[in-house]
């Protein structure tokens, strides 16, 4: 009896699905695969190799530090970095005094510890990077986690920063309605191809590097991408290091465990 009900129930679901399938197939036959301007002209991020890539990757601190300089001199006017604290910069080999100075240059709105009243005061190393007030329209995203909040994060930022270009004529020919709207900027590495941010890195030498590296656009884009990997995952070095030793131990212990298992089962067919 239960099997009769079950077959009926099975046919009920299969029937409902077949109904959807039927109409969707008709729709598909008429329209074919969806064709959008994003599908046709979106480009996957360019290849980017950073020292922090891979299972043995470690940050190139010099590069990350240069990336911070790019952030400070270019990005910081619009984008905040709220999950990062000034004290974290110690990992980039900034000295205590330099960190203090960097922090003090920022204005932090915090409750006065004695009165609880919100007050502006110079930043302290323990403070996070303060919010950035953006005067224009829209909300430039916070950059602290950007490298983890996008597929292929570092390669994405690098490609985006170096990918601004004029809209291809071919695109307008195929999709006449897809002209980049006023106030937006065409970039094939951006998921919907048009973004509000104008190209931030526009000329070589835009940033002055403290280590004297030649600041080409490509160099700046790479460095700031490396920096954003660090802000998103500051514990990467430690994670790789702990993981390496832990995994080595696990392999050793598992081999011993396997040998012990063979011992215990010696002579037992199964």
């Amino acid at each position: 009896m239960i099997r009769i009900f079950s077959i009926l129930a099975g046919l009920f679901f299969a029937g409902a699905l077949a109904w959807s399938l039927l109409w969707d197939t008709i729709g598909f036959a008429q329209e074919g695969l969806p064709k959008t301007v994003e599908k046709a002209f979106y480009e996957h991020p360019k290849e980017l190799h950073l020292a922090s890539d891979g299972w043995f990757g470690k940050f190139d601190k010099k590069q990350v530090k240069r990336g911070f300089e790019v952030y400070q001199q270019v990005c910081a006017s619009c984008h905040s970095l709220k999950h990062v604290s000034f004290r974290d910069l110690a990992a980039l080999e900034y000295s205590e005094a330099e960190i203090k100075e960097l922090a003090a240059a920022a204005t932090v709105n915090a409750p006065d510890p004695l009165t609880g009243e919100m007050k502006d005061r110079p930043g302290l190393p323990a403070d996070h990077f303060p919010p950035v007030v953006y005067a224009g329209q829209g909300h430039p995203p916070d950059l602290s986690l950007l490298a983890k909040a996008r597929h292929d994060g570092a390669a994405y930022t690098y490609s985006l920063l170096t990918g601004y270009q004029a809209q291809p004529a071919e695109l307008l020919k195929q999709f006449p309605d897809a002209k980049t709207p006023e106030g937006l900027h065409y970039n094939p590495y951006f998921p919907n191809l048009n973004l509000a941010m104008p190209a931030p890195l526009t000329s070589d030498g835009q940033v002055t590097y403290s280590d004297g590296t030649n600041a080409t656009i490509d160099q700046m884009a790479k460095d700031v991408s490396a920096f954003l990997v660090w802000t998103a995952e500051p514990k990467l070095d430690k994670r790789h290091q702990v993981g390496f030793w832990w995994l080595g131990f696990l392999i050793y212990a598992t081999i011993l465990g396997y040998l012990a298992y063979r011992n215990v089962w010696a002579g037992k067919k199964h």
């Binding site: 604290s85 004290r87 004695l114 323990a126 131990f249 050793y252 011993l256 040998l259 012990a260 010696a266």
Partner: protein, 188 residues
């Protein structure tokens, strides 16, 4: 077979084999034990103060505004610190006391930095049960010895913040601090 684990012929004949096998079993169990202990370390360490808490473990205070006879409160490790600029009269009062007669014998010099005896810097936490004594804020009662007075259980401190009367066992604690310049101190 369930019960003939001991009649494994190969092992009985070959005594060396038995010893080697026991060794591997013991090594495997020990490795599991070591692994378990290794895992416990992060599980315990996570409860210790985190990096953001440790970053606030020292505080810099600008004391330029504190005139003789005045005091200010600062916050150090989420607890109040009293910073007091003693008047010559208060210093004299503190030094006049017979140290031997005190519950927690300490001289004012021992409780301040050399050459800066007028700067009395103590935790604002009563050593009795942790209340915050009065006397550092403007217009607050300073108690009969002119220092601090804890209203919770009536402990009275003198101008060197030493316990003089009431239940508190010791003087107000002096935190680690240093003068980084004439007007800035770094506590912790």
């Amino acid at each position: 077979m369930a019960q003939d684990a001991g009649t494994d012929t190969a092992a009985v004949i070959d005594g060396e084999g038995v010893r080697r096998r026991d060794f591997i079993n013991i090594a495997a169990v020990s490795a599991a034990g070591v692994g378990g202990l290794a895992v416990i370390y992060p599980l315990i360490s996570q409860m210790a103060p985190s990096a953001d808490v440790l970053a606030e473990s020292s505080t810099e205070v600008d004391i330029a505004q504190v005139q003789p006879g005045m005091a200010m409160k600062a916050v150090f490790r989420k607890q109040p610190v009293f910073i007091r600029n003693l008047t010559p009269k208060e210093i004299q009062e503190a030094e006049a006391v017979d140290v031997g007669s005190l519950r927690d014998p300490q001289t004012l010099a021992e409780r301040t930095k050399e050459g800066k005896t007028n700067w009395l810097i103590t935790m604002g936490v009563c050593t009795h049960l942790g209340c915050i004594p009065l006397g550092a804020g403007e217009g607050e009662v300073k108690g009969e010895y002119g220092g601090y007075f804890c209203p919770c259980h009536g402990s009275v401190y003198d101008t060197a913040a030493r316990i003089r009367k009431g239940p508190a066992p010791t003087n107000l604690q002096v935190p680690d601090y240093e003068f980084t310049s004439d007007t800035v101190i770094k506590i912790g």
